[in-house]
């Protein structure tokens, strides 16, 4: 019996001991066992699990069935020991007519936004939630779009008057003379919001008193779209559109991993190596962009860091274009492998990548010199936007944001997929917890990615076996009914998870995307309250948000 299985048994016993009336049943999901909890006691169950080490709430996903709604919680255990990693799910079935579940936002603060999203899209009411408003859709929206009964053809008009005027309620001066604040709408169109984010900010002079991120301007209901497409070919182009700044390969992997686990599709080793190579090239390009735009937020001008980063990203973009035929929307992965073999002539392509890798150490030294060696930049980026490790865990932050707070959680390491297990690389962490650390983590990760790419190239160059790029996959993929799976990969921004619930057809019954940016943005107001306006913008840049992924 493995460590993890033994632990699960212990957990079962503990929960049954402590909360006999809160537990309804135990289930087995593809990724982990699940505890079926009484919806009104689910917070107690999650609290006991948290006390037993499951300290990371990945996502909350709402699923509709004929006779019930389910609120599914995916919990993970993050420790320094990679052997210690494991997962557990909690399922809270809710009444079909009046779905209501107790909130877990007092256990995990990050649950706040996840529950708001579940409420918004599926209409599950979370009792005792501190702030149960819609999050992605406008507050005037009628109905919950992921429900079966929702009428897609019903047009929804929202007049300007119907919107709450954000100024009216927030401009109140609490006590005459004590607090003189100004309400400022930053965005949705603003140079520093990297897309369409609306920050409802209350300023006291130059200091941010309160900030409320308003998201959903780029919401395309990607989950709904994916639920209406078949597994085999139709879903794969969509992941490219979540994190659309060159992280497409990583997004595709998140979908591929989840469905390949669920439908038990084998991937040939050769394709695994190509996938790993493509993912790391993608990660490098995405991190280059993140570093560049962070500098852009600090400078407000077309500065050298931004331009150099873009120039280097361009080379990667060309390499990826050679591989997939596309610059951003790659659509390169297939279930059971990849779409094409490496571009011919192979040697030329390898040479191109090797040329880039040879120049890279020098370039990274230059970035470090430009960032770390610049006294003014250090003054701005050091000690601002402090994210304490405990707060980061509470909110479910992942990726470079979490690693910048000194916690070395990397899905590639703890829960390996593709070819990462066979390769030699390190998890980069900095424990400054500030804006500078987060940026330095990204630069360090580019270095590590380069190591991985180099090893993949060695393997591919010496490959003398069969170049099998796809395994035999049935014409239509139908995972067994009533099975579900949650898996995650390490995307450019963090843990990018997919939760698929199958109903035995060739389309998913529920397709939930766990976006790392969503959780990283949820912690934003904690980071910036009490900071200066200028630091708020810098912090926003250091979180590296892409709104295609936040809003989906």
């Amino acid at each position: 019996m493995s460590v993890v299985t033994r632990r699960h048994e212990e957990i079962h016993e503990t929960i049954e001991d402590k909360l006999p009336e809160a537990i309804l049943d135990f289930e087995e999901h593809q990724n982990a066992p699940a505890v079926v909890a009484n919806p009104s006691r689910v917070d107690d169950v999650v609290r006991v699990l948290k006390q037993n080490g499951y300290n990371h709430l990945s996502s909350i996903s709402a699923v509709e069935y004929d006779n019930r709604y389910e609120s599914v919680y995916h919990l993970r255990r993050i420790t320094d020991d990679r052997e210690d990693f494991d997962e557990i799910n909690v399922v809270a079935p809710a009444d079909p007519d009046e779905p209501a579940v107790e909130t877990v936002s007092d256990v995990f603060k990050g649950a706040n936004w996840h529950e708001r999203e579940a409420y918004d899209l599926m209409g599950i009411r979370y009792d005792n939630h501190p702030d149960l408003r819609r999050i992605l859709l406008p507050e005037t929206w009628k109905g919950h779009p992921l429900r079966e009964e929702y009428d897609v053809d019903q047009p929804q008009y929202t007049t300007l008057e119907a919107h709450a005027n954000p100024i009216e309620e927030r401009y109140e001066v609490e006590e005459e003379g004590t607090l003189d604040t100004m309400f400022l709408n930053i965005g949705p169109h603003h140079p520093a919001t990297h897309g369409v984010l609306h920050l409802k900010t209350v300023l006291d002079g130059e200091v941010v008193v309160d900030v409320d991120p308003d998201i959903g301007y780029l919401h395309r209901c990607e989950e709904y779209l994916c639920e209406r497409l078949d597994y085999k070919y139709q879903i794969m182009p969509y992941p490219d559109r979540w994190d659309y700044v060159s992280a497409g390969m990583l997004n595709e992997m998140s979908y591929a991993r989840c469905i390949e686990d669920l439908a038990e599709i084998e991937v040939p080793e050769y394709a695994q190596v190509i996938r790993t190579l493509a993912q790391e090239l993608s990660r490098m390009a995405a991190h280059m962009l993140a570093v560049g735009t962070f500098a852009l937020d600090l400078y407000g001008e077309l500065n050298v860091i931004f331009m150099y980063a873009f120039k280097d990203r361009e080379i990667l973009q060309e390499i990826l274009e050679d591989l997939s035929g596309q610059r951003l929307m790659f659509n390169y992965f297939r279930l059971g492998g990849v779409a094409y073999d490496l571009p011919e002539p192979r040697d030329e392509w390898f040479e191109k990548i090797r040329g880039f890798l040879d120049d890279l150490p020098e370039k990274l030294d230059e970035y470090r010199a430009l960032i770390e060696g610049n006294e003014l930049l250090r003054k701005r980026a050091e000690g601002t936007g402090i994210l304490e490790p405990e707060v980061a865990k509470e909110y479910g932050c992942t990726g470079p944001v979490l690693r910048g707070s000194g916690i070395g959680y990397d899905v590639r390491e703890v829960d390996p997929y593709s070819y990462y297990d066979e390769l030699d690389w390190d998890v980069v962490t900095y424990d400054g917890c500030d804006n500078l650390s987060r940026v330095l983590v990204r630069i360090g990760e580019v270095e590590q990615s380069a190591r991985i790419v180099e090893q993949c190239l060695d393997i591919l160059e010496d490959w003398d076996g069969d170049r099998e790029i796809q395994s035999r996959v049935p014409r239509s993929i139908t995972p067994p009914a009533e099975t579900e799976n949650y898996t995650a990969v390490e995307g450019a921004k963090g843990e990018l998870g997919i939760h698929i619930v199958s109903d035995g057809t060739e389309k998913p019954h529920r397709f939930k995307i766990r976006s790392p940016c969503f959780s990283n943005l949820a912690v934003f107001s904690e980071l910036v309250e009490g900071e200066y306006l200028a630091d708020m913008i810098a912090t926003l840049g250091s979180l590296d948000l892409v709104f295609g992924e936040v809003d989906r």
Binding site: L184, P191, A192, Y299, L302, N303, L376, I537
Partner: protein, 355 residues
Amino acid sequence: MVTFNDTIAELFGVDGFSPLVEFVVAIAGASVVVSVMLTIIGVSAVWLKRKWNARFGDRIAVNRVGPAGLMVMPADALKLFSKEVVVPEGVDRVPYLLAPMLAAASILAAFAFIPFGSGLQIADPETGLIFALAFASLSAIPIVMAGYSSKNKYSFLGFEREVAQAIAYEIPLVVSALAIVPLVAVFADTDAPLRMSNVVAAQQGPLFGIEGVPIPNWFIFAQPVAAVLLLVAIFAEFSRNPFDLPEAGSELVAGYLTEYGGVNFVLLFLAEFAAIYFGGALFTALFLGGGSGPLLPGFVWFLGKTFVFYLVVQWFRATVPRVRIDQLLDLGWKYLLELTFLNLLLTAGVLWVVL
């Protein structure tokens, strides 16, 4: 001292003019100087800035309109001039429309006191230095007018920052400039050391020679601390990077410029660029010996030095990030102010001991 009018008179071969003609010639001279400055600032400076910044970032920048893209600014200006003047609803119309004109006028008027070399100087009063600094400080007022009247919160924040910044750096600017005045009195042996032509005249001779190569008596060598302090104060006073907080592209959209378009925008933009040039001209006159230099005529040297200053400003733009408002005020009040006064006292003290 050769004045502008004398130069013109000499050119025509007459001994001085009657007061009326002198006035007309002065007006004509002023318009020549202003038009030349405008052409330089409007066309070459913006083009140069774009090309120069592009070099830092491995870019090519403008190269389509005209030879090497030189005509892009006239084309842009033409486009902006042909735009409708949009006055947003609810703005305070009078200051809103007056601000761009005042901004451009005040900074161009400040050029009157600058000795461009070759006797090219429009006005040379006994208190020229103080006049020049006073006109330069006036540039904060149109920004306040623009920001406050625009009825936009970003504009409002921009002008608030401008006020804080202008107050914090006004004193260091003046005091660091004053540190050279005792030197002028000594070197030029004059009792009008604030007169700009005297400031330049004091820097003509060699300070000392190293192996036969004469080091000119520019005050940057005689007063290096004051030069650095003035440089910082100029950067802050005219809101250049890293002190460009009133505009702060990534934070305040465009600061006090947010609500301006068309010809009003052109004027404010022009005032901003003219301010950099004025900063450069001031620095050249006070610390780089004005138009002094071998072979070439004085005004060529002067313009050349101003352009070098301008390029340094743009270099900062590409390489240093913006400071935060509290860091800016810290620097101004806690360090610059004390250092400038210390430097002034030290200069006076040293001269008192030596003489």
